[in-house]
Symmetry: C2
Amino acid sequence: MKNGYFDSEKREFVITDMYPRRPLLNYLWNEEAVCETDQFGNGYAWMSIGTQRRKIEAGDRNLYIKDLDSGEYYSANRNYNRLPFDKHEAHVGLGYHTVLSEYKGISAELTLLVPEETPAVLYKVKVKNTTEGVKRLGVYFSLYPKPALSGHDSYGTGDYSDTLGGLLYSHDGFRLPNDYTKVFVGTVKAPDAYDVAPQRFIGSYSGNHAPIGVETDRLACDGTTFESNYIAALQFNVTLGAGEEFENYFCSFAARNEDECAEIRAKLLSDGAFEREMATQREIGEKTSSVITINTPDDYMNHQINVWLKRQVSLGKTWGRLYGKGFRDVCQDITAFVSFDPDLAKKRIMHALTYQYEDGNPIRMFEPNFRYPYNDGGAWIPSAVLSYLNESGDTSILDVELPYLVGDSYERASIEDSFIEEPYAAGKRRDSVLMHVRAAIDYLLGSRGEHNLVLWRGGDWNDSMNNVGLENKGESVWLSIATVKAINETQEILRIAGEGEELIGYYEDKKNELKKAIKTHGYNGKHYIYGINDKGTRIGDEDRIFLNPQSWSVLAGMDEKEDMLSAMAEVEKRLKCDWGYTQCSPSYLKGDPDIGRVSYFVKGVFENGSVYNHGVAFKIAADCILGEGERAYRTLKSISVDNPKNSDSGVEPYAVTNMLIGPDSPYLAGYAPMSWITGTAGWIYRAITEYMLGVKPTYKGLTLSPAMPRGWSGVTVTRRFRGETYNITFKASDRAYIVADGKEVGILPLSAAGSEHNVICNYVEK
Amino acid sequence: MKNGYFDSEKREFVITDMYPRRPLLNYLWNEEAVCETDQFGNGYAWMSIGTQRRKIEAGDRNLYIKDLDSGEYYSANRNYNRLPFDKHEAHVGLGYHTVLSEYKGISAELTLLVPEETPAVLYKVKVKNTTEGVKRLGVYFSLYPKPALSGHDSYGTGDYSDTLGGLLYSHDGFRLPNDYTKVFVGTVKAPDAYDVAPQRFIGSYSGNHAPIGVETDRLACDGTTFESNYIAALQFNVTLGAGEEFENYFCSFAARNEDECAEIRAKLLSDGAFEREMATQREIGEKTSSVITINTPDDYMNHQINVWLKRQVSLGKTWGRLYGKGFRDVCQDITAFVSFDPDLAKKRIMHALTYQYEDGNPIRMFEPNFRYPYNDGGAWIPSAVLSYLNESGDTSILDVELPYLVGDSYERASIEDSFIEEPYAAGKRRDSVLMHVRAAIDYLLGSRGEHNLVLWRGGDWNDSMNNVGLENKGESVWLSIATVKAINETQEILRIAGEGEELIGYYEDKKNELKKAIKTHGYNGKHYIYGINDKGTRIGDEDRIFLNPQSWSVLAGMDEKEDMLSAMAEVEKRLKCDWGYTQCSPSYLKGDPDIGRVSYFVKGVFENGSVYNHGVAFKIAADCILGEGERAYRTLKSISVDNPKNSDSGVEPYAVTNMLIGPDSPYLAGYAPMSWITGTAGWIYRAITEYMLGVKPTYKGLTLSPAMPRGWSGVTVTRRFRGETYNITFKASDRAYIVADGKEVGILPLSAAGSEHNVICNYVEK
């Protein structure tokens, strides 16, 4: 594998490439903090408690080692100066991250983790003399704490606190938006020297590659004030005999006062605390991983499903998109992580539904709140709720009463493209979750334009098509199709809830009405258009095709099969490239204010013609629904990091990216500047497990409807579901039928909790 | 002189210290752009046209030189790797900045300037082979352009444009706050290669000290997109025989479209354009410098007055405080630069007065507008207007009709500590400048509390005492004293305007009423207190003394001389330290919400107990008024960069700082983190010229009232004033009297424009 290898036993990816095309990122987090790290252990850390959000660290973390006899020094984790290290590895683990290096007889280890319950970063440092002689070393641990909560440098100080046993940074200002005015960097062992001022430790004219403080015998041991940046640098002078090692632990966190610093430090740096946290992280990872285990001929896919996609989805499950909790993003993530954490899924559904306005339309993003009037939020609710019902079999959620967000989405909408800092306020209306689902659908059905299609307003899934409907005239064909899908799901929920046929029939009529409008105004004879804007212009008609309306026509199960097949054939013809399928083609070449941001994006980038993988994942699912397992698999592999036709996309082998720059771009085509923060992870996870392997929960039990790639007979899947364990083997056969525990079945048996079932799923290879 | 030397002939300061305590800054600017540079030529550049404000550059500028035979390379201006250069000098000139270096037989020059009329930076580069042999060199010029106008990297591209002859960066987005969506870096000579992507030129894992692009034979010659940062790197391969040199010119600027890029580039890079701009800058500098020339025993002071303070004041004259135009700051700067640019002073007065609300109170800051309800703005208006009348003798300004800013300062005040992005809107009321002055005073007289002192509201000169009066109860003693001073000035304006004694008498009564209230409630028997806050607490009473109320009692000419003398004696006793006088003592140790920001500042920093030089400059003027010239001089030297007791404050020898960290700070005491951006420059300029040397313009003509340091007999001053030139010699004598052109006079004679007058000013040494 590019950049390193998977260690199945330890559930690690080991990065052996010190200088990949771009930094390979990893995230460590708990409910209140996130720590980013690359292959060097470098990145930021921040925390968020309620509405109080702040950075803890930003800038490089370093473990400098200096030979006190020769004066030579280097960063053991970062190797700025491209020295010929004997070894450099980053072990991307489940909830921890270790950087190992060896150089000139010194082995060094830097391990980071975010403990389960405290918003902090914990560090373990180990330096070992692997030579036969004695080594006199200076060991320096440094990081960049971020105490500032305002632009007033005058509020700030930093110094070592003997009482607290670490470096204390204060920013006790007037009218601050945050109570966490201290940042503390604690050390178990008392340092021989320290510094807090970058201009002394790094030097005003040097950089992290050559810190002048390390060149002196002893750090300044002084505090500082009025800095816009601080450093935490701790020096330990050690003499190590042959085979001896130095070990120490550090923590960094923000707190409200010194007492809190003392309390948190005591907890985090107590004896054995680091190892206990490591064990906890491993446990959490194992529990998540064991829900579904696959064994296919595609080793890389096995790693993805068994470990890594779950981890990426888990980041979203806690943090949304890090910059905030997009309503549609949260709903989609729920449909993926519900399989390994149904209790949390329930909690997240209930939380999200309180951000639905009283008119039924949800806010675009919460925490922080972003009120641009996107119109698609409600279309994502039914699938989230249904996925929970299907996974858990627990219908009690439907009766839970929840408030709506105060106001009306039309009144409260802000067309300013900016975030609204306003605390959550519940409206007067309260309803059961079931009624929240119906309110979402009723809103969409009521929000329609002159062609009877759903209004576009501020935009839909395509966030960047953000000026097509602000006059409340433009209509979205994609959103109309998504509404059809959402009504399907709502009808299923109503059936599970035991509602009568009258109500279900009411929605059936509405759905048919909508389908008719889509057929009449949204299908051009070859493919589905994207919509009709405020000015009446048809978008994505002959001149340009968009991916999502085509794939979603399949996901929604539109009536006309030949339309869908034609649409999907157009996708193959017009959107395919060597590294996937573009979101639209051709790209916009010129900004159009009646369309919005997407048309201003550079060609081939983001929603304007990139391979936008979230959309590609929808397409994979659609292929599977159409029985095109082989095409689905080829599509999956084309966007994958192991695609030989796009062999250096920059993506971490253990993560998926939202975007590969498209073929229309004259620059960086095929490159992925980002990863991790995307709903793509959840959809790829579901596309493989639920659509390709076809292991799909329903309210009555697990069903199997595979759309296998060619030659995959013999694939096995172990799935835990409502306390049962299913050991499933897929066999290519003349006839599709399922045998569970010796009997032919439709739905897999649900017996006493804790049973294990052996299942053979015979499928017909296409 | 520390860090380098003054070159009087070229009017340059030459920095010979490559690595001073902190970077030594210089600014280059015109009406629409500002370029910052340090001793290496590094800093940002930005532009502002109307309300459209944007960065052009940020990050290091570099002239890398690579020996193509050995492969060795370095930055000739920046020397990141501390190589043993034979020479490194920065020539801080009037409107240009040159960095010279010599290393291994190669001399290099990088000169920056901002042309007079275009918002751009111009660069000249020269590389010379000073050896006897032939040198094959790669010459690389690089800088960091800042095309981004939003967080959407998808809008961005950068590439070389053959048509335009340079590197073009675009950020053509949707709903941008700025029309200047292009940044262009032009070159006269076509490069051999180029790059725009930092990850290729610098490398994802390297830094400016070791750009990987320079290590290759040829830069990538490719464009890029979706970057959060771009670089402009241009490679020229040259073969230089003995004594031969390579010369080229570059420009960087923002523009609205490619046509505009072409047009501006053509103008800036035309033949001889750079040299013409250099000549223009020199001319501007000379014109400013020649207004007053002094020759005292203090060489450093001579340099300050003859050249550098004028330059620092000139930055403020155009750009306010760079982050915006503080009303009080603009008014104060006017009183200083009026001597060398009265026409502009008039323009600035007229502009500022349109930011006075309809109730007479001005806004705290404009462009951008900051509406926190500070109450002192009006107290600075009369001195600005009077200084213009005195310098120019032109009373026509008093009749100019100007609108007020729409609204009422109470209604429009925002106690949110934030900037209001709102375009200027004129109110209905229009008045003459004379009435604007009166409106300011009438506002202050009407804005009074229960002790008959002027209300504090959001604060006064002490910006950080910002929560003492928001309930409209707290009263400021300092502001009351400042109002007395402002009434003095207003009365003088009224006399110049020929207003009757009735009106002048009306203000006399009001002033006496105010003086009485100050004496009764604002003087504690030893010194003036600072004020009484909303809660009725007396601030700066026994426990703590503030500098400004004491010095301003002298500037305002309070009636009781013994009170002033006692107050100033307390200043000597309680506020003096080795590097000046602190703004208050003791510093606050704990935040007090009924006082505001100042009490939360770290002790010894900013208004909380630092040596805040703006205040020290007031004190120097006050000393002079009391005839304490020697004490004034000692005070001046204590805050000066040549104070041997504070020999490494960090300050540029050619600039003054607003703050030296005070003795109460446990860290960095005596250090000046900043400089340039301060009203201190104007007040030091005036304290020396008008108060110490006593060359003071009045409406009727120039007056002389020196308060000389001891032993300064023989000092000469040349002052241009209303077309006349006065060559003044100061002589210590038994009796104070002035002889001009052979006759004893009170006011210096004003004859035909263009006359030269020889003046002897006899003074009595104290």
